[in-house]
Symmetry: C2
């Protein structure tokens, strides 16, 4: 089996991405980044999802982005609640973490190089939520180009591919794809601001997008929400 | 003053690069990566150099690349000694750390974005030692392109520049440039395998290149070497 490094946050998108990698026959090496995110329940979710799939290897790599700050996810800035979709798309949100995807993909690249793998998977997607600059197709293409210049594999003529199977999908399509592949949605965690027991708030941007995705897909989100109205 | 993030390992190249950034009028924010390198004396050297310059800020950012291994600098593979220059250029050496420069530049990018800086400095250079794929001009250009797609600054039309002032210089030219800018060479550490007191071995690839650089520049390397013959 061909090894692939799959970035796994423990959320809906990365879990569906892992399901796609498995469906394509890759031997999954899951990589989770513990970057000091306030929504630490997603680390537990990543462990559950990796265990569910019995992946070849799962690493939780620590690096503390709190020391730079600059995001509601790594500092004491409040996570916005109850925003309309139109409002989310107006500007880069405070939940944007500077450099995050570039750092994550770089670390995935390092591991892939050690493993002799030329396949990276990331769950980035741009359609529903265009506020993050590092979730666009041109960004993924630029990283793939860089990866081929940066590595032994690229230099020796093996092409390194950054797979972003969700890049052109809306949230409802992601839910449909995941459901079709029997992705364990009940084990995932997406909320930026869950309570101490890991229940999703139902009101932050990512909860609103997730709930709308399930609704539009005609499915029920199996995870627990604090705000009963939301679920 | 315009802020810039300067990658500072504490070696000859990064110290000269910091000197260039200062000479060009930038307000230096130095970034040192503690990635589990066996030659930990370079972290002390970075502190000494940053202190010498009285930089605006200096961060030592920890992330442990030992968990991936794959390099003589982060595992128990022996550092090669006494190799000829021709031998060094034949293949990617065991001291190559997979993904290292991509990870370092990504973290520098994250900090730059938080600081509102659009200038990164790296000491990579390719002429004397062509074995590392991520030290080539096309690699630096690809990272700059990625950085402009990845960030708020790039999206909003501010151009982000990756300065690599040593990229086309040989080691003797780097020594000359540093000397001209009064770079504190006596505070630097380049050796991959120093003794417990931080004295350079004089026989690893980086020592050989450094010593040859000083010799070709007609200057004396002010640091201590274990092998008296070498210095």
């Amino acid at each position: 089996m061909t090894p692939a490094v799959v970035l796994l946050s423990g959320g809906l998108d990365s879990t569906t991405t892992l399901a796609v990698a498995r469906d394509r026959g890759f031997d999954v090496h899951a990589l989770t980044l513990d970057y000091g995110q306030r929504h630490r329940h997603e680390l537990d979710a990543a462990l559950r999802v990796a265990r569910h799939y019995g992946v070849a290897d799962h690493r939780i790599f620590a690096l503390d982005l709190r020391q730079f700050g600059g995001s509601a996810l790594t500092s004491n800035v409040a996570v916005p609640k109850g925003r309309a979709l139109t409002e989310m798309n107006q500007a880069i949100p405070v939940t944007y973490v500077p450099g995050r995807n570039t750092i994550f993909l770089s670390i995935a690249l390092a591991w892939a190089e050690v493993l002799g793998s030329v396949d990276l998977f990331t769950g980035v997607n741009a359609l529903d939520y265009s506020g993050y600059p590092d979730c666009r197709p041109e960004y993924v293409a630029a990283f793939e180009q860089l990866a081929n210049l940066a590595t032994k594999a690229g230099v020796s003529g093996r092409h390194l591919t950054v797979h972003a199977p969700l890049i052109a999908l809306g949230k409802a399509e992601i839910v449909q794809l995941g459901a079709q592949l029997a992705a364990p949605f009940h084990l995932t965690s997406s909320c930026y601001d869950p309570d101490i027991q890991g229940r999703a708030c139902g009101r932050c941007d990512t909860c609103i997008l997730r709930l709308k995705g399930f609704k539009d897909a005609g499915l029920v989100d199996p995870i627990a929400y604090l705000d009963e109205e939301a679920s």
